[in-house]
């Protein structure tokens, strides 16, 4: 496994040079995290009463991204990013996962500022594609399983003239980047995506995304019976961002509609999520490069047909980022993040799986993140 990892890395890094790239850039980031979580566990062997207890207390390397960007011509460039992660599940205690691997063509379609992207790439849905992890947690779309952050496909990425915004149209597998090869289910329905962000005035952004997808293989099984797991999904997202002076507030609304085949339509349901995440940048106020972060999520899955699993989550996050160092463009190169997250499932609206607050948690995370980027030639 180690040899395979090494060979893969070396191969990926040599490939652009062998193909005669005009320019080669390398970048990477590492997230070293300490997690302390308090949850509820059974108080005794009767399995009826609960008590609060520390359930997680560990250090980890949550992400180890290493990426390379090769410019093959003025109109074509390629990028790949691998995620090196620690895992005690794997024999060698480490794994390698491809996160992005795509080519950008800026001259395939003669529309100004339009790029065609082919390969394993970002999914341009909601806030997931420009989520910069100012908070340690994932984007709501990712956290609550609305869409994957990356997938295999083709997309058109364009910018409106005069800086009025951006748009994307995409067709993807719909299974997400973690599914590949034989692990990729034989889902014959691709996912279709449309995304639009408008910036009517500096500081104000309004956006929305729509995505359709089929999941869990195909409707008809080999023996011509209907697949009870097969479902179609309609995903929608609305975004409002206001960035004025030191304050930057995002609000996001997510909607998911899951429909099963007529024989199984009793399983149909819809879910919603509302999130708001403000940032207060203190640098212009006190000089120190410190950002205060907040977040509130309300994830409503109370319409799930499974009465045990239905739930209504309220989650609050408070955090602080201290940027020790920045690169030439002002992006943090060395950053410490402290987050407190409280997850609280509504007792009345949630199912029995969430009763007695047994899935409620309080989590403290301290993360040291460092990034680098350099042009090799």
């Amino acid at each position: 496994m180690k040899k395979l990892l090494l060979a893969t890395l070396v191969g990926l890094f040599l490939l652009p040079a062998l193909l005669g790239a005009l320019e080669l850039k390398i970048s990477g980031e590492m997230w070293n995290r300490w997690t302390l979580e308090q949850g509820k566990v059974f108080a005794d062997t009767s399995l009826t009463a609960y008590k609060k207890e520390i359930t997680k207390n560990f250090f980890s390397l949550e992400r180890g991204y290493v990426g390379m960007e090769a410019k093959f011509s003025q109109s074509m460039k390629g990028r790949f990013t691998v995620d090196i992660f620690s895992s005690d599940i794997l024999k060698d205690g480490a794994g390698l996962k491809l996160k992005y691997a795509y080519l950008d063509f800026s001259n395939l379609i003669p529309i100004p500022d339009l790029t065609t992207t082919v390969g394993l790439q970002k999914v341009y849905f909601g806030s997931i594609y420009d989520w910069s992890y100012n908070l340690i947690g994932k984007a709501p779309t990712d956290e609550y399983k609305y869409a994957n952050s990356a997938d295999y496909g083709i997309s058109l990425n364009g910018y409106l003239p005069g800086g009025w915004g951006e748009y994307q149209l995409g067709i993807y597998n719909g299974e997400g980047y973690k599914n590949y090869g034989s692990n990729l289910k034989d889902n014959i329905d691709p996912a279709f995506l449309a995304n639009l962000r408008i910036v009517p005035t500096a500081g104000l952004t309004i956006g929305g995304s729509v995505m359709t997808n089929g999941s869990e293989r195909k409707l008809k099984l080999a023996d011509a019976t209907e697949n009870s797991s097969y479902n179609t999904q309609l995903l929608a997202d609305g975004i409002l961002r206001a960035a004025f002076g030191p304050l930057d507030i995002w609000a996001e609304y997510l909607y998911k509609d899951i429909s099963y085949a007529p024989n199984f339509s009793a399983k149909d349901y819809s879910a919603t999520c509302f999130s708001v995440f403000p940032t207060l940048k203190l640098k212009s106020l006190i000089g120190a490069d410190i950002d205060l972060q907040g977040r509130y999520d309300r994830s409503d899955e109370t319409r799930m047909p499974d009465s045990k699993k239905k739930n209504l989550l309220n989650a609050w996050t408070g955090g602080l980022n201290f940027n020790f160092m920045a690169d030439d463009s002002g992006s943090p190169a060395l950053q410490a993040q402290l987050n407190y997250v409280r997850k609280d499932y509504d007792e009345d609206a949630s199912g029995t799986d969430y009763a007695n607050g047994k899935k409620d948690t309080d989590t403290v995370m301290l993360q040291l993140k460092w990034r680098f980027a350099s042009t090799i030639y």
């Binding site: 011509s73 800086g163 005035t201 500081g203 212009s284 463009s329």
Partner: protein, 270 residues
């Protein structure tokens, strides 16, 4: 009693912090072409306004624009117009990029001083940079292989050259990509078969400027736009420049500022 002391201390701390944050400092970042203009005008401005501190960094137009977007620079020096993508990204972060033209420039095509070639057409320049023309003898010069020297992609000079001379076509893979105008001038000056492109402010005795489409880059041809590789140089600010920032940019655009622009080898706006 103790609480009162703590509150007073906190108020004092905040007041000091605000005072520090409001010190009269201007930060510029970006284009290496605009760098000498920014440096020379900043020195002259600070001589007249000793209470204002202007710090200047290079890095390329792309780096300066990113710094303006991230709020780490007050001025992005750029040798090109901002792209739709950059404007959109800036606006979504609450930054309203506003351009101020500070000088005119011609991108000079330069060769080694021993090279006899005196004129190149835009088509010939494109073919040289595409790798179709490989020897100076193909354009009336000596029998000498051409060494193509270009700029890195963060460079605004490259972007303008790419648009106006190359028409977006590919630079030959053997080209040397250098990070600054000075590096290009120095490398061409020490390479007999070299060809490069630099801002007019970087011309030296060690290199020779060739005409483009039979037009010499000079004040007249750049100002009237007849030189094919003429361009404006910009300083971008977040919204309309006010206070010290507005005063500094107004100084650059004034007669006194434009005199410094000319002294640095560039061309005045009018």
């Amino acid at each position: 009693m103790n609480k009162k002391y703590i509150i007073v201390a906190l108020i004092l701390l905040l007041a000091i912090s605000f005072a520090v944050a409001k010190s009269r400092k201007i930060t510029c970042s970006g284009s290496t072409t605009v760098l000498p203009i920014a440096q020379a005008t900043a020195e002259a401005y600070m001589d007249k306004h000793p209470d204002v501190n202007i710090s200047i960094r290079g890095g390329g137009s792309g780096v300066g624009i990113a710094a303006l977007q991230n709020g780490s620079a007050d001025i992005a020096n750029s040798s090109r117009v901002m792209k739709a993508k950059e404007v959109s990204q800036a606006k979504s972060k609450g930054i309203n990029p506003t351009p101020y033209a500070v000088a005119l420039d011609g991108i000079a095509i330069v060769v080694h001083k021993s090279n006899s070639v005196a004129n190149l057409s835009i088509a010939q320049i494109r073919d040289i940079y595409n790798g179709k023309i490989k020897n100076w003898s193909e354009v009336g010069g000596p029998k000498l292989p051409i060494v193509v020297i270009s700029r890195d992609v963060a460079s605004g000079t490259f972007e303008v050259f790419n648009e106006k001379a190359l028409g977006g076509s590919k630079v030959v893979s053997s080209a040397q990509l250098l990070a600054s105008n000075n590096a290009v001038a120095s490398t061409v000056g020490s390479t007999p078969g070299g060809i490069g492109y630099i801002g007019l402010g970087y011309l030296t005795e060690e290199i020779k400027t060739v005409k483009v489409n039979s037009i010499t880059p000079n004040t007249k041809t750049v100002q009237d736009g007849s030189y094919p590789l003429a361009r404006k140089l910009y300083m971008y600010t977040n919204g309309k420049a006010k206070g010290d920032l507005g005063s500094y940019i107004a100084f650059i655009q004034s007669d006194a500022g434009q005199k410094i622009v000319v002294e640095q080898g560039f061309i005045a706006l009018k």
